[in-house]
């Protein structure tokens, strides 16, 4: 019973880390809930609070993937309550699982790139249901992978942690490759946008945007606001272009006919 409830909440937290409230998965909320399932809310509050403070310096910003907090929290709770390990030791053992959480995320994000073709087809047929399904499939993949890892931790305990450790050393090149490829896939997204938007007279604008980001992004003082600053420059160019072209149109339109006024 406990293990089923645990799998269910892990499933929900895994989805929540990117969707829903994006808050329930935070250790301060998740750990007490898991504590309630395992029968020790008090430890849940302590681990949750400690872990939350640890994470303050480790926010999911700028698209970077921090060590996975969902599995970190869930597994630390299992080890602390079920195996009666001290809090810091439980958190330490949970790290290997949180690395696998990261793998699960990478895997899902990669697989879902392939499923975009299915979404395209749904759009082609003006089929809202198809879009809903793509989103549901993705949430289920992510949730299931995490739930499985939580169950492994629950049943296998520390032995499972060691087995995963060995596996992750041996397969690290493959997972690293998936991660590297994952980081490259956005270029396909950019290429599709460019295919449509990039008129032949706009190559300079594209490279100018690239240069502006390279400049702001590599200066410590401005790197946090790179895209806002880039947008300022881009807006200036666009507004200038708009006003100039409107003027030209007006002048053309007023040309001969209104000369006499």
């Amino acid at each position: 019973m406990q293990v089923i409830l645990l799998a269910i909440v892990t499933f929900i937290f895994a989805i929540d880390q990117f969707s829903l409230t994006e808050l329930l998965y935070r250790p301060i909320i998740a750990c007490p809930i898991i504590g309630a399932i395992l029968g020790d809310v008090k430890t849940g509050l302590v681990i949750g609070g400690t872990y939350e403070l640890m994470m303050v310096g480790n926010m999911p910003v700028g698209g970077a993937q921090p060590p996975n907090a969902v599995l970190g929290g869930v597994v630390a709770m299992i080890f602390a309550v079920k195996s009666q390990l001290p809090v810091d030791q439980a958190l330490g053992l949970a790290v290997v699982f949180s690395i696998f959480g990261q793998y699960a995320v990478t895997l899902t994000f990669t697989v879902m790139s392939g499923l975009m073709a299915k979404a395209d087809q749904a759009a082609e047929n003006a089929d809202p249901k198809g879009i809903t399904n793509v989103n549901l499939i993705s949430m289920c993949i992510l949730g299931t992978l995490f739930a499985v890892l939580a169950v492994v931790a629950y049943i296998g305990g520390e032995a499972a942690g060691n087995a995963l450790q060995t596996f992750s050393t041996n397969a690290s090149w493959f997972m690293g490759g998936l991660g590297a490829a994952g980081g490259m896939m956005r270029y396909v997204g950019f290429a599709v946008l460019l295919k449509i938007m990039l008129a032949d007279d706009m190559w300079g604008i594209y490279l100018a945007g690239f240069a502006a980001a390279a400049l702001f992004g590599n200066v410590t003082a401005t790197s946090g606001a790179t895209l806002i600053l880039v947008a300022f420059i881009g807006a200036a160019i666009a507004i200038y272009d708009y006003n100039a072209n409107v003027k030209i149109k007006e002048l053309k339109g007023n040309g001969g006919a209104s000369d006499g006024i």
């Binding site: 829903l20 999911p60 499923l115 490759g177």
Partner: protein, 298 residues
Amino acid sequence: MASNDELVYVDQTPAPALDKATLNKMVWRSMNLQASFNYERMQAAGWLWSILPGLEKIHTNKDDLATSMKHNLEFFNTHPFLVTFVMGIVLSMEQNKADINSIRAVRVAAMGPLGGIGDALFWFTLVPITAGITANMAISGSAVGPILYFIITFGVQMLLRYWLMYWSYAMGTGAIEVLTKNAREFTHAAAMLGVFVVGALTCNYGATKLGMKIPNGTKIDATTKETVANYIDLQALLDGILPALIPLALTLMCYALIKKKQWSPTKCIVLLLVIGIVGCAFGIWSGTYTALVPVPWH
């Protein structure tokens, strides 16, 4: 030609304004923006799902709905808590049947800058402060801690979502009249801004780096005065030529394959998967992993 080349909607009559119930529904749906997050188009399918109730009301013509769904399924990435700002503007343009290139350009231009603002507001300010207050309550065993944490962060988040949705929808609707008078000029300017932002994203989101450090004799460390191994860092060499050279090259490669060779995006993804995994087997890309083939440079 590929599918998303329609330029205007068949039905050019502006749709009636969206009612409150639909707008509210989309605010709630916006929470699942990242439901099908993926590396190729990031939040695209979640974005489309979030605005679908509005699109279905706006585009009663089935072909137009398909057109709209297709172009709203292109690369999209913004801050999940601020997305309703982009939604409001895009919906007001869809409702007035604006030129598709304009809608796309405005969408791309609006999504970029929000990321930094959202992170600064939420993850660097609100959450650390709230966590600082409530975590200690939790550690001392009080269940009020987590509950308070949830109420504050969730409340702020939802207020932002609602307010941005209504504000930007009203703003977009107000601005549209001026813009439709000079639609062609606006489209051109918006496309320029969009291309500019995609150029910036290529550099800013492009994280692909070489991990090759070729052993090259020894050197004397400046601070410790000890002899240490010397490496030639290939990525540093590349950065000296052009920062983010690899992201730019790979983007242009995909562009050429898609535009000139008519490759599908899926085919490009498979190619990148191979490049990524084979590259790591030989220790070419950066990252903390052990290469499959023992190589001197990783």
